[in-house]
Symmetry: C2
Subunit: 654 residues, 2 copies
């Protein structure tokens, strides 16, 4: 079956790309954009950057192995492999030629890496050789399941056998997990048990420890503790969720219930304390890592696109293993607010980090962005893991939508699609997430239970079929019956916009609230920062919906407050909120100490506003009347109108 | 005169170590600790780390120049030079031998660097060669002014002349400023104008640009704009304030009023938007840099010790140039809350970063800390700029206390000291900062105005002398007269504790307030996080003073609130504040969406608290009655009682 994850056991079985076809709609449109634009964009940039050329240079002729000529970071091979995986799922015609380029660089014994030939396996902390193999193997699995054996799958089998020979009886592992889940899937695809055993050993070795210490500490690559002894995800976020995904795969195939429940507990604790409202993971730029519990800054949120993708991969595995709807709930949150956010609407630029607050309207550097940051999306990055990860994930997205078990079919993600299962053919019709009406129309009849996920926010949901309507709680709405062509199941999910408040321990957004509607997180976007978002305070009143070009935007009531004009941003009395008025600029702001507003020193500057010309945020109150509507847009759509400021968490007035 | 900064012109002239002697008191005790403990601690660690050995290995014998044997980072030479400067100011007996070790490694043409011999000047972005010379020259200037010519000053002159020959007519500069201010000071100490001209050219070259672009962008080393065109400090904080210090020195010696006012404007804007309450600078760990305006997170505050020291050096230069008291005000804030915070009370461990909020009680890694972080102070760091910077700054601290001009003497920092100026001898007696009473006793008579700084927070200050008492505003309290032995000037600075609130644009501490008393910022420190600071809310009522072993501690009223037990830290209603009660744990917390607290999904977990054993912060309300006093300690004293949590900014109740 054409699915990236095919466990041999578990509560639910995935329905693959051959059973689920996405039709035009929120996700179907993005999958089409991926096939038509994003995949080609990625290939073009990797040709331009010379990362594909690295393979050509190695092809056959050892004399051409010149490290000076090699382009890109030590892990750039993995980017080509991720694109190959995307091409495989998409049935893209460019795959065979790109695969042949890769194949010619493989050494006789199966070793394949354009960076480390000669001094292979000399740096497990940063070398990324097994990481690159992991992505190569995932590409091969995709090819096996969509096409069958060919040159690419031969390369993959030789590489995987090389890994088993080289590492089966050592204590070594890679600084960046991914080979674990890749090897389990290759086992699932080929039945060769050595791949499962190799994956199991890689999972068990980590944390003994297996790697040297580094500046960030061993927690950076989850080598601080054996995976089954950890209590929370920590360190580099992508590494953490990739490792957890591999551990779930190993647990499922080996029947290791202890390992599975360890990962479930880590997921539960992480979701309770270390996840942004968008589902994004990662709070620190310095090591692309989870922060401490409740360290969730909106402005410096890292929330790497790849961490979001890894979280979706992990949640999908846990859903299949347990059938617990909470995993599908987090997957949906992350799909709509991270996965859909990274690519620009035109598919040619991407967010690497996905912060929830941007203070300065800025364009990223021209061309290849050397950093993960930049106020807007970039066409490519020096470390460009995210665009290719989007490409392979969108290309396989249909496989995440629905599952089956002995009782019937479960639809976890509501988007227009055609679903085939044991003769039953269903057509899902919906304007979700803009509309909460989901219709499942029976095209070819059959029997079995049809379950539709009801998200936790959908209070008052109803299901109608066979002439009856009943309320359904969050979880799954179940329709039983013998289905005839033309039968309809209608799910109604109330989409009332809602204000959401942070746990008081999330210090970074104290005194703020955010607006959500359905699965979407909303944000205020201010092009060129007009009005200045630093001075906006929202009133918590019911948001007003506006349908703009098929997109639901929301107005909330907001006041623009006076910035004051301190020379020192700390004062002996809190600012009174309230609207900006011309007088406000003239009245001296609170002094930095009681009664000294008129004295020299920083305090003395208090009544001397800086020249407006010098200001990064305006020093004069902006003439916007109080109680004006503030337009909120879906977070995933921000940043498509040029440099802008943005904030998800809005300070609340009064 | 024995002072690190001796401008040839300016509003005020420094009084050096030969004119100001610190006696037992807040700063005098620390200067003694430095002389007796810190300097030796630094030398021991640099011997143990092999950084001093790098010079021995080079000494004389080129055959021993083995890069493999070299220890430490590429800039480790500068650490030995900073220690030499500290030894020079302190008149430390270990200087000659250490200087001889350095001298033997110098090449014939004056080049001196243990890392780059062979491939000298091949990496200006990261090589730090001119940075190392800068610290070497500062050590030589200290030796010239405290001792006179010797082997060390000869080394310095040869190195400085080498720099002038090599760089006078190129467009090159160093990725890390410091050589600029060093060369100006060497000009001031020797009168050789080539050093001033070389410094001027280094200042003017930067930002043309003079360096290659890097991942962090050229703003990281202030090469994005010519220094006189910049509007705010940005990029790496230490680099920014070192460059600004050199620019002020060049401006003063060349009479460049435009350059001086450019730095003043940058300082003013930075202080208004980019400085932590402690005076600390730097908001980002990834590039040790300033953040955007108002990006001032207390938990991830970087506030590097060296940036605080650089800010004091810059403020001192601006004070001497302009006589504007606001520079002395910020210097004092930074001295008491950054400079005094870094070293442990026993002087054998140091903070590198000085965050304002620590959530997890933790000890740093054993031995040499590879990171700048760690919940407590570390004895040494892989990058160990801070301890040696403390050593040289404490050793010269007396030179920052007082100045003179034609009218008389200005005392900027109140600490027990004996001050000599043109025959006049003054003894300053005070328990400051614990007490606000400062007595200046005339030991040897003379004439002239005696000015005492009155900080901006000192509302209601009074000065008494000659039998009269009068109120004085912030700025300088001036006493005129012909002084006879036994005369007294008494300054009274009210030390009432005060609550301080952030500008509303400082998002990270919205809804919080901090307590200050006199020049000291206070914090709540909770050893082993008992009580849990994440659950404390303070009531804004007058703090109650307690004198504990000579230290003023403060009690504020606080309530301990219930953590609730969400599976998802975002909910459809704000938490009501109020005290923790046993019931609170049992009642289900707010659901993540209206009315779904009892449904599956993350929401479904809401009424299932995690086992307390798993909790990083307690899940059960802690049995502390409401309105209990919460003890606050001076921020500079936190972290001396083992692993603890700490917060300067306290959420306010109700």
């Amino acid at each position: 079956m054409a699915s990236p994850v095919l466990p041999s056991s578990g509560a639910l079985s995935p329905l693959g790309l051959d059973s689920v076809r996405l039709t035009p709609g929120f996700w179907g449109d993005r999958v089409a954009l991926n096939r038509e634009v994003i995949i080609a964009h990625c290939q073009e940039w990797m040709e331009r950057a010379g990362w594909i050329g690295n393979f050509r240079r190695l092809g056959g002729d050892p004399a051409r192995r010149d490290p000076v000529l090699r382009q890109g970071r030590e892990f750039s091979d993995s980017e080509i492999y991720k694109l190959l995986e995307g091409m495989a799922w998409a049935g893209h015609p460019a795959l065979p030629e790109l695969a042949a380029t890769v194949a010619r660089a493989q050494e006789e014994d199966g070793y394949l890496n354009t960076r480390w030939y000669g001094d292979r396996y000399t740096d497990f902390e940063w070398g990324h050789e097994l990481y690159c193999y992991g992505h190569l193997i995932q590409a091969g699995v995709a090819r096996l399941r969509t096409h069958g054996e060919d040159e690419l799958t031969g390369v993959v089998r030789r590489a995987a056998d090389h890994i088993c020979r080289r590492f089966m009886d050592t204590s070594e592992t890679c600084g960046h997990p991914v080979v674990e889940m890749a090897l389990v899937e290759l086992y699932r695809a080929t039945g060769a048990e050595r791949y499962l055993e190799m994956a199991r050993r890689f999972v068990e070795r980590r944390g003994l420890p297996a790697l040297d210490d580094i500046e960030f500490g061993r927690a950076y690559f989850q080598d601080d503790l054996p995976v089954r002894r950890a209590r929370v995800f920590r360190g580099h976020a992508v590494r953490a969720v990739y490792l957890a995904s591999g551990a779930v795969d190993v647990a499922v195939e080996t029947g290791d219930a202890e390992l599975l429940s360890a990962i479930e507990a880590q997921w539960e604790r992480t979701v309770a304390r270390r996840v942004h409202l968008t589902g994004g993971m990662g709070s620190r730029h310095s090591d692309e890592a989870f922060g401490d519990d409740f360290e969730l800054p909106p402005d410096r949120a890292y929330s790497e696109t790849c961490a979001g993708i890894g979280s979706i991969m992990l949640a999908h595995r846990l859903l299949l293993a347990t059938g617990d709807v909470r995993y599908a709930d987090l997957a949906e949150r992350t799909m709509f607010n991270v996965l859909a956010t990274s690519p620009a609407l035109e598919g040619r630029s991407f967010f690497y980090a996905n912060p929830l607050h941007v203070r300065v309207p800025a364009a990223p550097p021209e061309g290849m962005n050397p950093a993960a940051e930049g106020g807007l999306r970039s066409p490519w990055f020096t470390v460009s893991c995210c665009p290719n990860n989007i490409a392979r994930t969108y290309a396989s997205l249909a496989a995440y939508v629905a599952t089956s078990d002995a009782s019937g079919v479960q639809i976890h993600h509501h988007t227009p699609a055609e679903i085939h299962h044991e003769g039953l053919v269903l057509r899902v019709e919906t304007g979700y997430p803009w509309s909460g009406e989901v219709t499942v129309r029976v095209v070819r009849g059959g029997s079995g239970r049809i379950s539709l996920r009801v998200p936790p926010w959908a209070s008052g949901a109803r299901i109608s079929h066979g002439g009856t309507t009943r309320p359904v709680p969050a979880g799954y709405a179940v329709a039983e019956g013998r289905w005839r062509p033309g039968d309809e199941i209608r799910l109604h999910l109330p989409m009332t916009p809602r204000w959401t408040y942070p746990d008081r321990r999330v210090d970074a957004v104290r005194g703020c609230a955010a607006v959500e509607r359905g699965p979407l997180v909303y944000c205020a976007e201010s092009v060129k920062d007009e009005p200045p978002l630093a001075l906006v305070e929202a009133r918590v009143s019911p948001p007003v919906e506006h349908l703009v070009d098929g997109v639901v935007e929301l107005d909330v009531e907001a006041v623009l407050v006076s910035p004051g004009a301190d020379a020192w941003p700390y004062a002996s009395s809190p600012r009174t909120g309230g609207p900006a008025r011309a007088e406000d600029a003239a009245t001296p702001p609170a002094p930095p100490a009681p009664g000294n507003a008129d004295t020299p020193g920083p305090a003395g500057k208090a009544d001397t506003p800086e020249p407006a010309g010098k200001a990064g945020t305006p020093e004069e109150p902006v003439p916007v009347p109080s109680g004006e509507p503030l337009r909120l847009v879906p977070y995933h759509r921000w940043g498509n109108q040029g440099p802008a400021t943005m904030r998800v968490w809005l300070p609340t007035a009064g």
